[in-house]
Amino acid sequence: MSKKKNTDKVIITGEKDMPPMPASLGSMLSNKTASWRSIRPVILVEKCTRCMICWKYCPEPAILPTDPPTIDYDYCKGCGICIEECPFDAIETEKEGK
């Protein structure tokens, strides 16, 4: 089971399909953790210098190291750490559900 890529959804019918410890269950693929987000960080591409400090600080990690960095809104909980840490004020807040 551990051999599968982490993008594959693992099918488990019983304990015999399971490793001895909770390793690579793939549970987070279905368990999206962003549902309680109340604020949405938005990267302003024109102000972003690609310093990647937001990517380093994101505790989830829900900022992907693309060019420019992108936010994975399936897992971003809206903690706002990226907004706080961005030295160029290149991440803005939007109220969720606007």
């Binding site: 551990s2 051999k3 982490n6 488990i12 019983g14 304990e15 399971m18 490793p19 001895p20 410890m21 909770p22 390793a23 690579s24 269950l25 549970s27 987070m28 368990n31």
Partner: protein, 382 residues
């Protein structure tokens, strides 16, 4: 090669002989010299290992968990307050199925502040999923560390082991220890190569969120592993005996064949009980002894088999489960038909108080003359 070693040195030499890759430990009396000698062995280049200095026992086990999950064979050691500070991570190591081996010098819990022998510290870790062994002498400490790596790392077990030795009675007492031949140890404990490990080439999550859909099955597998360990401990002990000429199992019987009274004990008290059995037999009383090595997995079947021949059974505990009775007493009682036996639960030696041969003779006298009793306090000053 024979050497005169304290129990702590025996533990350190055992970990060295098992060729551990990582040692992460924090010093605490009476465990300190285990870590001290290991740091010297690593510094002298006699063991190719990383010695990680940490700021607490919680960190010591956390570092051990990380190392073991990355595929390193890991050793740590602690005692009493240190062991209980680790408690959260003791669960983590077992549920993560990481075969760490930890030496624990059994010491009483504070307050009153105590550095002396008592098994309350390790008994408090009963339900974590670790295997637990109690040693009678320094040779057993050294050999049990070797055995524990083999048993813990077995693919059908994958559970950590706590190797217990009594404070001062073993930790700081010198005895002759036969150090096993390194080539034979190397073939007895093959290199550690786990199927599941942290690997940057094949990233996977370890210990991630586990829903009720799966958590239950992981718990079931822990129990299966403990049950598998029962026969793997016996098999590995038999193999050890063929290679090194010393036999270790789940339990050890002493002069039980024609005995009428059975005394069950563990740790260093088991050695004193053997001496007491010899002496009381000279006075015409047929007594025998059963030493329990493994508290987890508890050798239910073996204990039941041995106890079935006895009506009168006394169990000596160096701890109390407050509000119940001695911890080994309740375990033994749980596997016996209580109608068939007279069971005596003796509490002795708490906080390092000496348990003498005279005390044990008095226990046998109680078993001959008094009614069964779950809780008999030996030598308490009332």
């Amino acid at each position: 090669m024979k050497k005169v070693l304290t129990g702590n040195f025996a533990a350190a030499y055992g970990a060295t002989a098992a060729r551990v890759h990582v040692v992460a430990a924090y010093p605490i009396t009476p465990q300190t010299t285990i870590v001290e000698i290991l740091s010297e062995i690593v510094a002298d280049g006699l063991l190719k290992a990383d010695f990680i200095k940490v700021e607490s026992e919680h960190s010591a086990l956390a570092a051990s968990i990380g190392a073991q999950a990355a595929g390193a064979r890991t050793f740590t050691a602690t005692s009493a307050q240190g062991l209980t500070l680790m408690h959260e991570l003791i669960h983590w190591a077992a549920r993560g199925r990481l075969p760490i081996v930890m030496a624990n010098v059994n010491r009483a819990m504070a307050p009153g502040w105590s550095i002396w022998a008592d098994v309350t510290d390790s008994i408090s870790q009963r339900d974590t999923g670790w295997m637990q062994v109690y040693c009678e002498n320094n040779q057993e400490v050294y050999d049990t560390i070797l055995l524990s790596y083999r048993i813990s790392e077995h693919k059908d077990v994958l559970l950590p082991t706590l190797v217990n030795l009594d404070a001062f009675f073993l930790s700081h007492t010198s005895q002759v220890v036969d150090l096993r031949d390194q080539d034979k140890i190397d073939s007895f404990i093959p290199p550690y190569n786990p199927e599941y490990k942290l690997d940057i080439k094949n990233p996977s999550s370890f210990g991630a969120l586990t829903s009720p859909e799966h958590y239950y099955e992981f718990s079931y597998k822990m129990q299966c592993a403990q049950e598998n360990a029962i026969h793997i401990i016996e098999e590995t002990g038999a193999e050890f005996s063929r290679i090194f000429g010393k036999s270790y199992g789940l339990t050890e019987s002493y002069r039980c064949d024609d005995a009428e009274h059975l005394l069950v004990s563990y740790g260093t008290i088991a050695g004193t009980v053997k001496e007491a059995v010899d002496r009381i037999r000279n006075k015409g009383v047929k007594a025998g002894a059963l030493k329990i090595r493994y508290f987890r997995p508890f050798p239910k079947k073996r204990v039941r088999e041995i106890c079935s021949n006895f009506k009168s059974i006394g169990i000596i505990d160096r701890a109390v489960s407050y509000g119940q009775a001695g911890p080994f007493f309740t375990e033994v009682k749980s596997v016996l038909d209580k109608e068939k036996h007279q069971l005596y639960g003796f509490i002795a030696g708490l906080g390092g108080r000496d348990v003498s041969i005279t005390d044990i003779e008095a226990m046998i006298h109680t078993m001959q003359s008094k009614e069964a009793d779950d809780l008999i306090w030996i030598g308490v000053k009332r």
